[in-house]
C-alpha cells in the first residue's frame, strides 16, 4: 500500500473527468511550448545568419526586404547598385568588413550568390572537399545545397534566371563545381557561392547575344546587388547610415532595427496565440482546482476513514497535492510532446516551402522549466483543496454528516 496506489484508486473512479483536465493542461502547455520553440529557433536562425552584420547597403526600397534578400536569402532584392559606388564604400575607413552580394540566378531552387571569399569568413565556413573558387564561373557549394542537388567536384551546370525554380537556363555560361563546404548550420549551407564577376559574365553574355550590345557597352554598367558591412568601431554606427542615405538611389538598412520591426509585425499574431496558450493554462488550473475541491467533498468519508486509521491531516493534504501533481506532470509531459511535434511540423513546413530553415532546439533546460511550470501550476491549484482535506472534520464525516 502506498500513496500512488491510493491516488490511482481515487483517479480511477472518474477517469474521463481527469483525462479532460489533464488534456486542457496539455493543450495549454502545447501551445506555449510550440510558440516558444518556434520563436527561439527563428531567433537562432536569424542570429546565426546575421553573423554580426551591422549594416546592409543596397538599392532604395523596403529596408526589411533588402535585409531579407541579402542576408537571409528570403525575399527578392530591391534592385542593384552601381559597382563604382560599391567600390567607394569598400574603401570607407569606418568599415572593417564589406562583403558584396550579387543575386539574380539560382540552381534547383538554391540561390547563386556572386560575392568574394570574405562571405565565407563571415560564417566561418570551411571547405569539406575541393577549394574556394579562384576564377569566375567556378562555384563553391554549401553543404545542404550540394547534398540536395547531388553536386560533386568537377560537375558542370547552368544557372537558371531568377531566384525560383523554372527560370530560363543560362546554358552558354555554365558553372563548374570546385569546392563543397562543411555544414555550418547557417544560411551558407543553402547557397551556391561564386565570384562576383561570374554574375557579370553570365548577364553580359546574355546582353551581347540578345540586345546586340558590344562587350564594352555591356560591361560599362556593372553592378552588385548589395553590400553586407561590419563596422570597425561604434563610430560607424553613428555616421555610416546617415552618409549613405544621402547618396541618391542608395539605402542603408540596420538589421537590428529591421529584425525588431519584423518581430513586432509577427509578434502581434504570436502574442494572440501565446495569450491563448496562457489562457488555456489558467483555465486548466481553475479546472484542477474545481475538480479537486469537489473530489475532496465526494471523498470526505474515505478521507475520514484514513484519519480513523491513524493518518495525520498532513497525509490527506499530501494525497490531494500528489493527485494534482501527478495530473500536472501527465498533462505537462503530453503537452510538451504535442508542442514539440507541432513545432517540428511547422519548422519542416517553413524549411521546405522557401521560408527560413528552422531547427527546433533539442530537449533541454527550457523543456524542464515548462514541465516544472506545469507541475507548479497544478500544485498551486491543489493547495486549497489540500487544505480542505487537511481541515476535514473526520468525526462529522464518519457520522455521515
Amino acid at each position: 500500500m502506498n500513496a500512488p496506489k491510493l491516488i490511482f484508486a481515487f483517479i480511477g473512479r472518474k477517469p474521463l473527468t481527469w483525462a479532460f483536465h489533464a488534456l486542457t493542461l496539455a493543450l495549454g502547455v502545447a501551445v506555449v511550448t510550440a510558440l516558444l520553440l518556434l520563436s527561439r529557433s527563428l531567433n537562432d536562425r536569424f542570429d546565426k545568419d546575421l553573423a554580426g552584420v551591422d549594416l546592409v547597403v543596397g538599392a532604395k526600397g523596403s529596408p526589411l526586404q533588402l535585409i531579407l534578400s541579402t542576408v537571409f536569402a528570403l525575399d527578392t532584392p530591391t534592385g542593384n547598385i552601381p559597382l563604382r559606388t560599391a567600390q567607394t564604400l569598400e574603401r570607407f575607413p569606418l568599415f572593417k568588413v564589406v562583403v558584396p552580394v550579387s543575386l539574380g540566378d539560382s540552381v534547383g531552387g538554391y540561390r547563386i550568390v556572386g560575392t568574394q571569399p570574405s562571405y565565407g569568413q563571415l560564417y566561418d565556413a570551411r571547405i569539406a572537399s575541393g577549394a574556394w573558387w579562384t576564377r569566375p564561373m567556378q562555384v563553391t557549394v554549401g553543404a545542404e545545397a550540394a547534398r540536395q542537388l547531388h553536386m560533386h567536384l568537377g560537375q558542370v551546370f547552368a544557372g537558371a534566371h531568377g531566384l525560383a525554380t523554372g527560370g530560363e537556363l543560362h546554358a552558354d555560361t555554365p558553372y563548374t563545381v570546385v569546392g563543397i563546404l562543411q555544414p555550418t548550420g547557417t544560411i551558407i549551407d543553402r547557397l551556391v557561392l561564386t565570384d562576383t564577376a561570374s554574375v557579370w559574365r553570365v548577364h553580359e553574355q546574355e546582353a551581347v547575344k540578345q540586345e546586340g550590345l558590344t562587350p564594352d557597352e555591356a560591361s560599362s554598367h556593372r553592378e552588385v546587388t548589395a553590400l553586407m558591412i561590419k563596422y570597425r568601431s561604434a563610430l560607424g554606427a553613428v555616421m555610416a547610415p546617415r552618409l549613405i542615405q544621402q547618396e541618391p538611389g542608395l539605402q542603408a538598412a540596420v538589421p537590428a532595427i529591421e529584425m525588431a520591426r519584423l518581430n513586432s509585425l509577427l509578434g502581434a499574431g504570436t502574442q494572440v496565440l501565446q495569450d491563448f496558450g496562457w489562457g488555456l493554462l489558467a483555465l486548466s488550473a481553475l479546472g484542477f482546482f474545481v475538480a479537486l475541491v469537489s473530489a475532496v467533498s465526494q471523498r470526505r468519508r474515505e478521507l475520514a476513514l484514513l484519519r480513523a486509521l491513524g493518518a495525520r491531516p498532513a497525509l490527506l493534504f499530501g494525497l490531494i497535492a500528489g493527485e494534482g501533481l501527478m495530473l500536472g506532470l501527465l498533462g505537462g509531459i503530453v503537452g510538451l510532446g504535442l508542442g514539440r511535434a507541432a513545432a517540428a511540423v511547422a519548422a519542416a513546413v517553413s524549411t521546405h516551402s522557401g521560408g527560413p530553415a528552422l531547427a527546433v532546439p533539442s530537449f533541454g533546460a527550457a523543456d524542464l522549466a515548462i514541465l516544472g511550470g506545469a507541475a507548479a501550476l497544478s500544485l498551486a491549484a491543489s493547495v486549497l483543496p489540500g487544505l480542505l482535506a487537511y481541515r476535514l472534520n473526520a468525526s462529522l464525516a464518519l457520522q455521515g454528516a
Binding site: 500500500m1 502506498n2 496506489k5 491510493l6 490511482f8 484508486a9 481515487f10 480511477g12 473512479r13 468519508r301 474515505e302 475520514a304 476513514l305 484514513l306 484519519r307 480513523a308 486509521l309 491513524g310 493518518a311 495525520r312 491531516p313 497525509l315 473526520a394 468525526s395 462529522l396 464518519l398 457520522q399
Partner: protein, 217 residues
C-alpha cells in the same frame, strides 16, 4: 485496561453525550447502549481521540487520551485502536488486501502482508485478497474491516453499530466475529449500538446519556 470516567464528548465546546463510567480488562467486551441520537458514536470517537473530550477521562493502559495532543492522538489511534464502522468499510478501487494494509500505511508502520493475508484467510476472505474492494458484498466488506481492525493487534477495538440493519443470523455472526477477533488479539472490545440482540453475546452494558443543549456537563 480501559477506564472511562464521566466522559463527556463535545463538538466545538458544546457537549453532546456523557458516559458515567466503564472499566474493561484486556479480553473483555462491553456495549454502549442507547437510542439513535444519544451520542454513542461521539463517545466512541472521543475515546479514539477524534472527538473532543469535554470532561472526564479515558485511560487506555497508562495512556490518558485527553492529555495527548491532536498529533499524538492520531499516532496513538493508529497503533493501539481498531475502529469498525457501520457502513464505511473499504476504499473502492483498492484491492481487499490493500484495504487491510491501509491501517499500517495510515499509521506510518511497516506493512505485514503475510499477516494481512492470514487474517483474510481466517475470516473466509482468502480468495478475495486481490479482488477490488467494490466487488465484495456488504457483509464481506464488513468482515474485511474487522480483519483490518485486528491487523495492528490493537489494545482496544471500537465498533460503531456493526449490526444495524442485519437479520438475526447475520447479527449473531458479526457478534461472534467481533468477540472472537478481540479474544484472539487480546483486545478489549467496545460496541456502540442500539441493537439489544447483542446483549445475549455481550452482557456488560453501559448507557450513553445525551446531554441536551445548554445543560451543564
Amino acid at each position: 485496561m480501559l477506564v472511562v470516567s464521566g466522559l463527556t464528548a463535545a463538538y466545538g465546546g458544546r457537549p453532546v453525550a456523557r458516559l458515567a463510567g466503564l472499566t474493561l480488562a484486556p479480553g473483555q467486551a462491553a456495549l454502549i447502549l442507547g437510542p439513535s441520537g444519544s451520542g454513542k458514536t461521539s463517545l466512541l470517537l472521543a475515546m479514539a481521540g477524534l472527538v473532543d473530550i469535554h470532561a472526564g477521562g479515558v485511560r487506555i493502559g497508562d495512556t490518558d487520551i485527553g492529555a495527548l495532543s491532536l498529533a499524538q492522538r492520531d499516532r496513538y489511534r493508529g497503533r493501539n485502536i481498531g475502529l469498525v464502522f457501520q457502513d464505511i468499510h473499504l476504499i473502492p478501487g483498492l484491492s481487499t488486501l490493500d484495504n487491510l494494509l491501509l491501517a499500517p500505511y495510515a499509521a506510518g508502520l511497516p506493512q505485514d502482508v503475510r499477516r494481512a493475508l492470514a487474517l483474510l484467510e481466517q475470516l473466509g476472505l482468502g480468495d478475495k485478497a486481490a479482488r477490488p474492494a467494490q466487488t465484495l458484498s456488504r457483509g464481506q466488506a464488513q468482515r474485511a474491516a474487522i480483519a483490518r481492525a485486528m491487523l495492528m493487534q490493537p489494545k482496544l477495538i471500537l465498533a460503531d453499530e456493526p449490526t444495524a440493519s442485519l437479520d438475526d443470523d447475520a447479527c449473531r455472526v458479526v457478534g461472534d466475529l467481533l468477540t472472537s477477533a478481540a479474544a484472539e488479539t487480546g483486545a478489549m472490545l467496545l460496541i456502540a449500538t442500539h441493537d439489544h440482540r447483542l446483549k445475549a453475546r455481550i452482557p456488560t452494558v453501559v448507557a450513553a446519556e445525551p446531554v441536551a443543549a445548554g445543560e451543564a456537563a
